[in-house]
């Protein structure tokens, strides 16, 4: 453990497959990162908890559903109350929604089916969030999507998530309400995002745009620590 570096935790569920990508991204922006098995309660010392992409429990039955019951997930509200940050990416977003940390639901893509595609996303104004502290409204980011159940739905319609959607699709690929590609909770500290910012963290691989989120989180955590 490197002394002084803020700690980020990547929760690993059975079937997670984006855990290493997220780990490397946290490390790249300066966090000291560690893996944490989902079947154990969280230890209290991390500033950020990440729920990675993948197919927890094979995405069987309904994506994110089986994982949402894990002890590590049950600890997230306490972590947030204490000022911690949370990011759930793709399957991680599905888990956050299934666990009730974010409202609404993520259902089957419309048109149906798993799709991988590079997308353009637009940053839009939302409740203040440490994740978006460095992003300018109107910025366009290039991120890849890779999911089959990313169609965001809220029973009360778009006004229910007004001011909570920091990223929208330029061209909606999955039928999401209000073109929402990401969602914040009321505190702005819990972020769910459907495309993959952690896979846009190395210009060699096509885009470094996703790094902005992680850098902003790192800066916020640093500031808080002072």
């Amino acid at each position: 453990m490197s002394a002084g570096r803020p700690v980020a935790t990547v929760v690993v569920f059975p079937g997670s497959n984006g855990d290493r990508d997220l780990f490397e991204t946290f490390e790249r922006v300066g966090f000291s990162c560690r893996y944490h098995p989902s079947d154990r309660p969280l230890s209290g010392d991390s500033a950020v908890v990440g729920l990675p992409g993948g197919f927890s429990y094979g995405d069987y039955w309904r994506a994110g559903m089986l994982a949402s019951q894990a002890p590590a997930v049950a600890d997230l509200p306490r972590h947030v109350e204490q000022g911690g940050l949370v990011i759930g990416i793709c399957n991680g977003f599905q888990i956050l929604v299934e666990a009730g940390l974010l409202p609404g639901a993520l259902s089957y893509n419309d048109p149906p089916g798993f799709r991988h595609r590079w997308l353009t996303l637009k940053v839009q104004s939302a409740c203040p969030s440490p994740w978006f502290a460095a992003a300018a409204i109107g910025d366009r980011w290039r991120l890849p999507m890779a999911h089959g159940e990313g169609n965001y739905f809220h029973p009360d319609g778009a006004q229910a998530i007004q001011g909570r959607v920091p990223l929208v699709y330029d061209q909606n690929p999955n039928g999401s309400l209000a073109d929402a590609a990401a969602l914040l909770d009321a505190t702005g500290r819990v972020l769910g995002v459907m495309p993959h910012p952690e896979r846009a963290s190395d210009p060699d691989l096509g885009s470094g745009d996703g790094l902005q989120l992680f850098r902003a989180a790192f800066a916020a955590v640093r500031r808080d620590a002072l």
Binding site: G15, N17, R20, E24, F55, Y60, H116, L205
Partner: protein, 732 residues
């Protein structure tokens, strides 16, 4: 040890059981002689599986031995789980191709899915973490609902396994040709990185060590699937439906994590995937490789269905299972390790010094066989070969089309030439954060070597249409295409894995073709000084429509020294366009020729490997110097289609002038090896010309890129928007 009484067969019994399972009389003789007694019932079933073509390579072993295997970078060659090469910086790269043709014909989704799962486990067994898969698919024409269903099922199966497992699909080939109407080809390649010193062996050792079963439970899945893959597909596949295997990428992923984190320090002595022939394959091959024996209690195997018989347990091809040899004393921790990962795990036996695998069920001996006889003792077969090959139906005379632009648009929209995005957008291409170039982004896929700014380039090629005309030249062309594709991203070909897909060797014509394919591969590889590190043979690809065209699939690996100057395959404005190679207006075997003549086959252009070597050297050198913005080799559809694809992908036109030729259609759409288009930033054009001269590569400085029209003076003028629309196609 004596066999259980119920296992014992009379001599007549042996003959009739053996015949019903496809064992040849000579093979029965070899069994009896090798054992010094009659085999029992279960033993015969084990032989039928392990001596099937799929497991024993009995018809091709001699021919395959002629392929070059030596190379300075080779760390593991044919015979290991997956081959592996040294790629520097302390890394090895493991890669191998596998076919799942017959299972996919019967059950497209699960057949393709389990094909991907199986080849991933070979790479994992090598100790590598998979970083990429590629797939090479050959279907009949996609215009019937039946074929659409098959294509959709196969693609969904490949996607379903790879996406959930978490390995990116970085490219492939999709071919539509009436020759695959009754027998599709589904080949998958998997690759992974492993620390050079941490590779694993499928070798049992150390008497007293434990034999440990890990993974999913064993059910009645795909019993004798390997023997089934060695038979021709009859018109009626329905009777085989009880054989279908079901893949489970979730368990596959857990199995990978458990395997890769189980180390020699924790007691790992050897491991092997239970693939074709399942448990039998794991037991006999590991014992034979280590020249040891094993005592196995089949009652310890975790079963999905109670009351399975000995042969069902031994031959089940249930997916997601591994066999380990674990150091004596480390069993308890090993079992705890695997169970913590959510897997079934059980000690099912011990390593012995006997050289024999002895298996009991309910205390009765059902199998007691010498490991070496079962795994490696199958008598080799030399099927008769016909002296000459029938000549292909030559092209009838046909004139050049008057409107070459219209011809280009029509060709570009053909299934098999248009953009296969409808296939690859079902595949996760970026999971794992290694994909520098994925499907549609360059002539070859490129993966980032962990912790460096270097890359590994990967490509797969297959050209059954050319081999139909000339298996020798076509096989060479397949290798040459792999070399060129890699060169277009600046990588020299350093090793290949080959997947041979062929008809029945019992037909003397097909057997001769098979020999020609292997001779062509071997000659091309020797000329390029490139070794084969492993591969796969799938025979008996026949249907009521006849044998498939011989279709070797070549998976080529190359190294990219710096990711900084990597070209794409998309044209951008303002660059100088060079044509490399010859611009010749003569007929040649080609997609165009077949399309114009509704299936006739022309003369295959002879492959000039010296010219290929020069072209590749030029491209590698110029990419390295940062002189190449985009590059694409002339392949299927010829130079005309290659250029149109570059325009369509880049949304950019060009204005070109090329030397006059007799037949402009053949110059544009005929297929000659050793050719490519290269776009060069104008500032480097002079240096590029010099370099082409220096490397001895024929070149034409054809013009410049830009605008929204592709204009080749005196030949054609087409709007880029029209090219893009045609390329977007409908054929998938």
């Amino acid at each position: 040890m004596s066999l259980s009484a119920v296992e014992v067969l009379s001599a007549d019994g042996v003959r009739s059981v053996a015949a019903s399972m496809g064992l040849l009389p000579t093979e029965v003789d070899a069994i009896v002689q090798g054992l010094g007694r009659l085999p029992g019932k279960t033993e015969l079933v084990v032989f039928a599986g392990m001596w099937s073509e799929h497991c024993s390579y009995k018809s091709t072993k001699t021919m395959l031995a002629t392929l070059p295997r030596e190379g300075a970078r080779v760390l593991a060659g044919p015979g290991s789980h997956a081959g592996a090469i040294d790629i520097g910086d302390g890394w090895a790269f493991a890669f191998k191709v596998e076919s799942h043709n017959h299972p996919s014909a019967v059950e497209p989704f699960q057949g393709a899915a389990t094909g991907v799962g199986g080849i991933l486990r070979d790479v994992i067994a090598q100790g590598a973490r998979p970083c990429a898969v590629m797939d090479s698919l050959c279907f009949g024409m996609p215009d019937s609902p039946r074929m659409r269903h098959l294509v959709d099922g196969v693609v969904a199966g490949i996607a379903g396994y790879g996406n959930a497992f978490g390995v990116p699909n970085v490219g492939g080939r999709t071919v539509y040709d009436p020759g695959y109407e009754g027998n599709p080809l589904v080949n998958a390649l998997a690759a992974g990185f492993v620390r050079a010193g941490e590779m694993r062996l499928g070798v049992a050792s150390g008497a007293g060590n434990a034999v440990v079963y890990v993974g999913a439970t064993t059910g009645r899945d795909g019993i004798l699937g390997a023997a089934f893959a060695s038979e021709e597909l009859g018109a009626d596949n329905t009777a085989r439906r009880t054989h279908v295997q079901v893949g489970d990428p979730f368990t596959g992923k857990k199995l990978m994590e458990a395997c890769l984190s189980f180390t020699p320090e924790a007691g790992l002595c050897g491991c092997q995937d239970m693939g074709a022939c399942g448990l039998s394959c794991g037991l006999f091959e590991m014992a034979a490789a280590g020249q040891v024996g094993m005592d196995i209690d089949l009652g310890a195997i975790p079963l999905r269905e109670a009351d399975m018989s000995g042969h069902e347990i031994l031959l089940s091809e249930s997916q997601e299972r591994f066999l380990f040899v674990v150091r004596q004393g480390a069993e308890a921790q090993a079992l705890a390790h695997f169970r913590r990962h959510g897997l079934h795990a059980a000690v099912c036996g011990r390593v012995t010094e006997s050289g024999r695998v002895c298996a009991r069920l309910h205390g009765e001996v059902v199998v007691d066989l010498p490991a070496a006889l079962v795994a490696g003792g199958a008598p080799l077969i030399r099927w008769p070969q016909s002296a000459a090959l029938p000549l292909p139906r030559p092209y009838p005379e046909f004139g050049a089309p008057t409107d070459l632009g219209a011809t280009l648009l029509a060709l570009l929209g053909q299934p098999g030439l248009c953009d296969p995005v409808g296939v690859y957008d079902h595949y996760d291409q970026t999971v794992g954060n290694r994909t520098v170039r994925g499907p549609g982004q360059a002539e070859a896929a490129v993966l980032k070597v962990p912790g460096t700014r270097r890359g590994v380039a990967l490509t797969v090629t297959s050209r059954g249409d050319l081999l139909r005309a000339d298996p020798y030249a076509g096989a060479q062309a397949t290798v040459a295409a792999a070399c060129r594709n890699l060169a277009c991203v600046g990588a020299a070909l350093v090793a290949v894995t080959d997947g041979i897909n062929h008809g029945s060797p019992r037909d003397p014509v097909e057997c001769r073709r098979l020999a020609e394919v292997i001779r062509g591969l071997g000659d091309a590889l020797r000329a390029l000084r490139v070794p084969v590190t492993g591969g796969n043979v799938s025979l008996y690809n026949e249907s009521p429509h006849g044998a498939i065209p011989p279709t070797p699939m070549v998976g080529g690996v190359g190294l990219v020294d710096s990711l900084e100057r990597l070209p794409t395959a998309a044209l951008a404005p303002g660059h100088t366009l060079f044509l490399l190679g010859l611009w010749v207006g003569e007929p040649s075997a080609s997609f165009y020729g077949g399309w114009r003549t509704k299936g006739a086959v022309g003369p295959v252009a002879q492959v000039d490997l010296a010219a290929e070597t020069k072209l590749a050297a030029l491209l590698v050198a110029e990419v390295e110097r940062g002189h190449v913005a985009a590059a694409k080799d002339g392949g299927k559809g010829g130079l005309g289609v290659a250029l149109a694809k570059m325009c369509a992908r880049g949304g950019c036109g060009a204005d070109l002038e090329l030397p006059a030729v007799a037949r402009r259609d053949w110059a544009l759409f005929g297929e000659r090896p050793a050719s490519a288009w290269v776009s060069v930033p104008a500032a480097h054009a002079a240096a590029f010309r010099e370099s082409a001269e220096h490397h001895g590569v024929p070149w034409v400085q054809a013009g410049v890129s830009g605008g929204d029209v592709l204009h080749i003076r005196d030949l054609l003028e087409v709007r880029v928007a029209a090219l893009a629309a045609a390329f977007a196609g409908g054929g998938g």
